[in-house]
């Protein structure tokens, strides 16, 4: 009988039994369903702790989840409503909690507060995945922003904006966006490559313009918007002017300020102007006072001024809320009205969406990497248009007709544009499922004070809590992150 060498690895006897065991342990650890059980395993022994503390393990864990989770399994996510200042300015997401997807529960549902920041008064300015950008609103001289992860309670403080700044308004004086490039969950072979938390980010702060444009004047071809952009590389705030082009589509003169993040682009609409820009076009070397061109001249849909601008999986979605008595000229049910209707059999919600899919355009834009980025996007955007579709969701569960009082807030699922969430004036939370044309009551929210303005942010929990960017740690003394 011939005896082949059964183990090609035995030639290099460097792999000891302990190494094999470690490899298998890691294989087991990456299959743990949640971060919590990983943390429990960290407490088992020093050896396990060292295995689980290796950043490469985190990369493996995240990638394993990505490849094994099917599209339908969306991680828990939640809406946060801002301007909920009560008691110790605790942000209580009780109302949001009911929105957390029940299935595939990776985190225990957190009834969290942002007290760990130790701020007297704060406002949630923006979110990115599971990171929150908070603004300290007890200090009026400068703007002090903080980036925190409410799950791990880690946070970093950003240097204050240079004074004098945007005039301060306690209500909604500014719009802010947090845009991160990372974290990087790429599996690098060489050890000295990126850390997962070594990623760039930008913060864009736009003062909401309150300058009124006279009714009968001729419109300039551009609207200049001054904004501050924070570059993580050099930890500096940079003053930038954004030139937003006149929109060819809308006949509406008075579109109130709307801004939303979509595919990493900041999309801004104001008056008759609409444009998008990539915040990473602002580089650390960009001199203050530079003028950037907002891109794209996609005609806006009719009645855009009354619509709620939402984002879902790289698509801009414009939904019209319930008609209000304040605009009698409103064309009911003709153009994208989301309304609660009292019909004979019960209650229904009908809506017409206008959807603009940026996925292809922005991907092309990034792939092309051409010097004339603007040209690429403008030419590509010529083929873009708002897709219109309607739906009607009928309640079959006997929802009380009192919900017909109207719609207070609307939100959409992070990736599934079939799911629209509505909070009524009676603080009922409704889910409209376009796929099954059904209407469901998800629960009741806390009573929200009427005098506060709402803007809701979406907090999307990740299978591993997003680490804070490292870049700031050396520059700021006020950080508790380790």
């Amino acid at each position: 009988m011939e005896k082949p060498n059964p183990d090609p690895r035995s030639a290099s006897s460097s792999t000891s039994i302990a190494d094999v065991l470690d490899k298998l342990l890691i294989e087991i650890f990456v299959r743990l369903p949640s971060v919590e059980s990983v943390i429990t395993c960290k407490l088992v022994s020093k050896h396990w702790l060292s295995l689980l503390s290796n950043p490469k393990f985190v990369i493996k864990f995240v990638n394993h989840k990505k490849t094994t989770q099917t599209q339908k399994q969306v991680l828990p996510w939640t809406f946060l409503s801002t301007m909920r200042l009560k008691g110790n300015d605790e942000i209580d997401n009780k109302d949001a909690k009911s929105l957390i997807e029940k299935h595939n529960k990776v985190f225990s549902s957190p009834k969290f507060s942002l007290n760990f920041l130790g701020l007297e008064r704060l406002k949630v300015a923006a979110t990115f995945k599971d990171l929150i950008l908070c603004l300290d609103i007890s200090r009026l001289d400068h703007r002090y922003y903080y980036i925190c992860n409410p799950i791990t309670k880690h946070w970093v403080a950003l240097p204050p904006t240079p004074s004098p700044l945007i005039e301060y308004d306690h209500r909604d004086g500014s719009w802010a966006g947090l845009i991160c490039e990372g974290p990087y969950y790429y599996d690098y072979d060489d050890d000295d490559h990126h850390n997962i938390d070594d990623y760039r980010f930008r913060i864009v702060v736009v003062p909401i313009p309150n300058k009124r444009i006279p009714r009968n004047r001729r419109y300039d071809p551009f609207f200049i918007l001054n904004m501050k952009v924070f570059c993580s590389e050099n930890c500096q705030w940079i003053d930038v002017d954004l030139r937003i082009p006149l929109n060819p589509g809308t006949g509406e003169r008075l579109i109130p300020f709307k801004a939303v993040l979509c595919k990493g682009m900041v999309c801004i609409a104001y008056y008759k102007y609409f444009g998008m820009f990539n915040p990473f076009d602002v580089a650390p070397t960009t001199p203050s006072g530079t003028t950037l061109e907002a891109k794209g001249s996609i005609p806006l849909p009719p009645l855009f001024s009354k619509s709620k601008l939402l984002e879902c999986g790289g698509r801009l979605i414009s939904v019209l809320p319930n008609p209000s008595s304040r605009c009698p000229c409103y064309r009911r049910n003709k153009e994208g009205v989301t309304k609660l209707v009292n019909i004979k059999e019960g209650v229904s919600v009908s809506a017409i969406f206008k959807e603009l899919d940026l996925n292809q355009v922005v991907d092309n834009h990034h792939n092309n990497n051409s010097d004339d980025d603007n040209e690429v996007l403008v030419s590509a955007s010529a083929s873009l248009c708002w897709r219109r579709y309607g739906f009607e969701c009928l309640d079959k569960t006997g929802i009380s007709r009192s919900i017909l009082s109207g719609i207070r807030m609307m939100g959409i699922h992070p990736t599934n544009n079939q799911l629209l969430y509505i909070i009524t004036h009676e603080n009922k939370l409704l889910l409209c499922d376009r796929a099954s044309s059904s209407l469901k009551t998800l629960g009741e929210c806390d009573l929200l004070p009427d005098h506060l303005q709402f803007s809701n942010h979406r907090l999307e929990l990740q299978c591993w809590p997003t680490p804070l960017p490292t870049i700031l740690r050396s520059d700021t003394s006020k950080s508790n992150d380790f």
Binding site: M1, D7, V20, I28, T40, C41, V44
Partner: protein
């Protein structure tokens, strides 16, 4: 050459670490990449002898289990992977074992490069320890706690968010 010799190699003999011999159908053996590699190598050399493959790391009780798994999966080799019956069988198969056996089986699956069995075992162990306490996990894996109380408190503190 390869075609003529392949017919002669419908079976291989596998030897466990405690010197027991197992005669294995080639289709079954192919479930293990290690065995398959050996067979392929020998076929390339054009040998007509019966191949004996010694596995120095696998005891006969574990090898029996691995081969039982391979036999079942060889039967379903042409089906798609999502066969419900097979999944059910997999689960029932693993449910019988204690942790010591599971660990040995995992190591054997790794050594014999039987990827689907390795995945299955790792997922099964992960699923069964996910809700256990630290103490229970230590017991199962027979690990001694080498943390000082202070160190343990530090880790708990650092990850306080996970212990809600």
């Amino acid at each position: 050459m390869a075609s003529s010799s392949s017919s002669s190699l419908s079976r291989v003999v596998v030897k466990s670490s405690d010197n027991n011999l197992f005669v294995v159908n080639k289709k079954v053996a192919s479930q293990s990449q290690l065995l398959k590699q050996c067979i392929d190598n020998m076929e390339e050399k054009g040998t007509n002898d019966v191949i004996l493959i010694p596995l120095s790391n696998v005891t006969s009780n574990i090898l029996t289990l691995v081969l039982e798994y391979c036999e079942k999966h060889a039967d379903f080799a042409d089906d798609d992977n999502n066969n419900q019956e097979l999944k059910q069988w997999d689960h029932e198969f693993l449910k019988k074992f204690d942790y010591a056996t599971l660990n040995s089986l995992t190591m054997a699956a790794d050594y014999m490069v039987t990827k689907s069995l390795l995945n299955l075992c790792c997922q099964f162990i992960a699923d069964s320890i996910k809700d256990l306490t630290v103490q229970q996990i230590r017991q199962i894996f027979d690990i001694k706690n080498d943390f000082t109380p202070q160190e343990e408190a530090d880790i708990k503190n650092e990850n306080a968010w996970a212990f809600r």
